[in-house]
């Protein structure tokens, strides 16, 4: 168990250390530290719409806020966007491709996922129970 936990923690740290080098998009911390250095680079991020303006859209992505430099049809505040674009000066992004997930769909996604979790837990507990002597899951019918 110690070995497995060590392997997992090692991956957490390794991924955090090197992932940015392998992605075609600057990380949040890289943009926060020196935004201007990344102007002109490609950017791929998930973001939430905070304001829809006549010819632009304001979005928040983690700690960062951006203005998308063109109107995105059929978006409203609260919608989730996947943005692939180019970093422009003054926290603007020139969108190349934008994929919209409306906020209603996201709420339904979480509800359906909660149902999926309940179904899984229910079926699991129908077949398995906790053996408190060994503190392990044991098949029902074999538990003491």
């Amino acid at each position: 168990m110690v070995v497995l936990i060590g392997l997992l923690l090692g991956q957490f740290v390794h991924y955090g250390a090197v992932a940015a080098q392998h992605h075609d998009s600057p990380s949040t911390s890289a943009l926060s530290t020196d935004y201007t250095e990344h102007v002109g680079e490609n950017l791929y991020r998930w973001a939430r719409v905070t304001e829809v303006r006549p010819n632009s859209v304001r979005v928040r992505s983690g700690r960062l806020e951006f203005t998308l430099t063109r109107r995105i049809p059929n978006v409203k505040p609260g919608d989730s966007l996947q943005i692939y674009g180019r970093v422009a000066p003054n926290h603007r992004v020139v969108p190349i491709e934008v994929v919209v997930s409306d906020s209603t769909g996201l709420v339904s996604l979480y509800l359906l996922s909660a149902v999926g979790l309940l179904v899984t837990v229910g079926l699991f507990l129908r077949e398995w129970t906790v053996n408190w002597t060994t503190v392990t899951f044991t098949a029902r019918g074999r538990d003491r």
């Binding site: 168990m1 994929v99 339904s108 359906l112 053996n131």
Partner: protein, 164 residues
């Protein structure tokens, strides 16, 4: 990913069909495989505990993403199997791994603005497979064929049980 319900229904259907063919595969392992599908989604812990908080506290780089990659999923399946009786661990590990890894092809069909799926095969490679562009993660329609498939398999399984 598509919603978790779609995912567990697909795994339920596949596992149940496999029990018809593989006599050694006990039906009690079906919900174990379904539980395995949840493992990569544990990466959502990043919404509760953002990696930057851990980076600030510990002073080291950190990311929860490996949970949603093949390497982290395999290790977590191993830890999950240790929660079971010694005699069940290998069978639990195999079916839970099937459930966990099934997440990646289903995820691979999601539409991505940059046209690329995440590097699921980390730590083996950082290669990003092309996105399947079949549905959005917020689309609800995938649950309908999944429900029909699981329903058909459930009916067939029930008929088989009654006949047998």
């Amino acid at each position: 990913m598509p919603d978790l319900l779609t995912h567990v229904l697909v795994v339920y259907a596949v596992m149940t069909a496999l029990t018809w063919r593989l006599g050694r595969l006990h039906s009690r392992l079906i919900p174990v495989a379904m539980a395995g599908t949840v493992i990569p989604d544990l990466a959502k812990i990043e919404l509760l505990v953002p990696p930057r908080v851990i980076e600030t506290v510990l002073g080291i780089p950190f990311s929860w993403r490996p949970i949603h990659r093949i390497g982290g999923a395999i290790v977590l399946v191993g830890l999950f199997a240790l929660l079971f009786d010694r005699g069940d661990r290998w069978s639990v590990a195999v079916v839970a791994l099937f459930g966990a890894l099934s997440q990646f092809p289903l995820d691979g069909f999601i539409r991505r603005a940059n046209g690329l799926s995440p590097p699921y095969l980390y730590p083996v490679t950082w290669w990003q497979p092309p996105a399947g562009d079949l549905y959005l993660s917020s689309d609800l329609w995938p649950v309908i064929p999944a429900l029909l498939l699981a329903g058909a398999v459930w009916c067939r399984d029930r008929r088989g049980s009654e006949a047998g």
